[in-house]
Symmetry: C2
């Protein structure tokens, strides 16, 4: 079966943060228009829209946001579809856009993600995020997201000797990178001591092991590869992708030190792209908690199982290391407006592969990977992007 | 561009109604397994899942339902994606599944829709449904869904002389059809007098002008046409489809007696299928309110603008008429679990085109149409299905 190859010709992102003066629709429109400008397309050339968002209904009392965004972009009429897969909603939107172009239906497609999280209280936010786990068997009994990852962290420490210091090193690295990212939510360095002295949230995870609650949006413009050069000299090829699911409830898993959804999704993506983990030059991974980044190293094949802690400790995931991870600052410091995250990861890799990442540029990056997780691993989307 | 043709090889549906003894996941799994049985596929052959649902977050405190449903079907691992477009969420899921197969990525795909609406109070339900309109400019100021359609009805009456009797005739017809549908929520006939004597909800719409609040799910199995005969002697071709958006807020529209999303989506679908409105043998249209069915007749091209009232009055949309509409009983009497509706419409047309619709069979039906609306018209999905 012939499938059209798909390229990214533009990307845009808002500042991430507590953006109380901007509404859900304003955030999305801002990111989308930046992507349109970046792609050098005329707004009227956009033929379809995909928007990822986890819970605009619970966060902002607004469902049905895809036609709303089309409308506010002046694109009333075009097909507009929302996808939802908790914190992987953005990744799902990106893949649906890619499939749409692959199918031959549309040529120029806008994909994006958005979330407006800071208009609710912390307690309410914790409740809303827990709707991404198995409500009846987990959330109902009081298991929050940080609780789920705390269980994974404790088991990982027990099974592989991973240390709290190694987890804190993920936070230190990602904060250091975020200083160089003008769109990041928290642009300040933190020390290992600060992390280890921070308040306990769900043992063994402390405050600095947790990603941020942010508002923000990100967007990208995609089209068939064969017409991409009309718009840009530096199209970025969607070389491979994979999507997979894991048992919804963590208690249904044989082993909670890994996410099978990450393993399966990345295997599909590597196969489609015809590459191996060692070929990847840099990655944006889903560090909703520091332990999640360590598990991602392993599940994506950047190191052997159980050696993720060592990988960060040895500096291999720093800019300049063997496989730089989360050059943007990651969910930990760039911020994590959940529906936007998957597309924000795409944005970072696009900048890096074009050589436009400024102070945080990974020299000579040709092949980048994104890894977007929903919930405690129920959904995983992996993409492999390539400089041509 | 070559695009694979897609066929429906199986469909399943639950009883619609106030199903207090069944949870969200149970409803979806029941419909999905019925579709799997009907398609004669092995469960393990399913490669991807699309689930449409409007607001499991607000109705049932559960987001991230796609991996949950994959998990409960014993399909942990497969890509599973939720789509949302208010009451058109099911239609969106169906189209994403079709695009997935068209793209060549997957061969056997499960698509479905589900909603569990009756576990919340009526007031809460009204609030939740209003999140499908423009929250900040409509719902916030007290405009409910029935209020929106009441404005459309009043204007349609003023502009075209449509009568309350004609609207009530839609309800009478759909209730009559529902008696013959074992899965329908309300299986009883109503008289014109009952309708016209029913309580006023939002003038001029009375209780019997309004569709039902229901629990339920529907599902279908699709695959490339070239392998469909392996599974069934009666594959149903997805001959055409279209998706479009309309201004989110009704006050932004030039004319509220029509939905441009319906006009644009159906024009695309007719063009793709190479047919005209007069070729359609029967249709399932989105009769969330009786006026919506009358507007759909017109916007889909079954009659001229303004003559929808006359079409139902003359009996042309009855079984046995020129263009039978809502043989299932429609949203009015079959019921309207919002996320399930788009796929339930597909289910009805599949039965009819196969000649398996029992007492409500439209003789010799070869070409059927579904019309699924989100919100007050913000999203529209139209499909044209064909017996081969």
């Amino acid at each position: 079966m012939y499938m059209r190859k798909v390229a990214i010709i533009g990307a845009g992102i808002t500042k991430f943060g507590e953006l109380w003066d901007k509404s859900l629709r304003e955030l999305f429109v801002e990111a989308a228009l930046k992507a349109v400008d970046d792609a050098n397309v005329d707004l009227k050339e956009i033929q379809a829209l995909y928007v990822g968002s986890m819970s605009p209904g619970l966060f902002a009392q607004q469902e049905h946001i895809a036609p709303l965004m089309a409308d506010y972009l002046g694109l009333t009429g075009i097909p507009a579809t929302r996808t939802e897969g908790a914190c992987a909603s953005g990744g799902l939107a990106f893949l649906r856009g890619v499939m749409d172009v692959m199918s031959g239906l549309h040529d120029i497609v806008l994909v994006g993600g958005v979330e407006k999280m800071t208009d609710v209280t912390t307690e309410r936010c914790t409740y809303i995020l827990a709707t991404a786990s198995d409500q009846e068997y987990e959330a109902f009994h009081g298991l929050t997201f940080v609780g789920e990852y705390a269980l994974m962290a404790r088991r990982h420490m027990y099974q592989y000797g991973t240390t709290k210091e190694q987890m804190a090193m993920v936070a230190v690295k990602n904060h250091r990178n975020a200083v160089k990212n003008p769109h990041a939510h928290l642009r300040r360095e933190v020390t290992l001591e600060t992390c280890l002295a921070s308040p306990m949230i769900a043992e063994p995870l402390q405050l600095f092991d947790c990603s941020l609650v942010s508002d923000g949006a990100a967007a990208a413009i995609i089209c068939p590869l064969e017409i991409a050069k009309k718009f840009t000299d530096t199209p970025i090829l969607v070389a491979g992708f994979g999507q997979a699911t894991e048992s919804m409830a963590t208690h249904d898993r044989e082993d909670i030190t890994k996410l099978r959804s990450t393993i399966w999704a990345s295997q599909k993506a590597y196969k489609m792209a015809g590459v191996e983990p060692k070929d990847i030059d840099l990655a944006e991974v889903h560090d909703c908690f520091t332990i999640a980044e360590i598990m991602a190293y392993e599940d994506l094949g950047f190191c052997k199982k159980g050696e993720g802690g060592k990988l960060v400790e040895e500096g291999e995931t720093e800019i300049g290391g063997k496989i730089p991870v989360n050059t943007s600052g990651g969910l930990k410091a760039k911020g994590h407006p959940v529906g936007a995250t998957g597309v924000a990861q795409i944005h970072e890799i696009v900048l890096q592969l074009r050589g436009e990442a400024g102070e945080r540029q990974v020299e000579g990056a040709e092949l980048g990977l994104t890894h977007n997780i929903g919930g405690s691993g129920g959904t995983c989307v992996v993409t492999i992007l390539k400089r041509l």
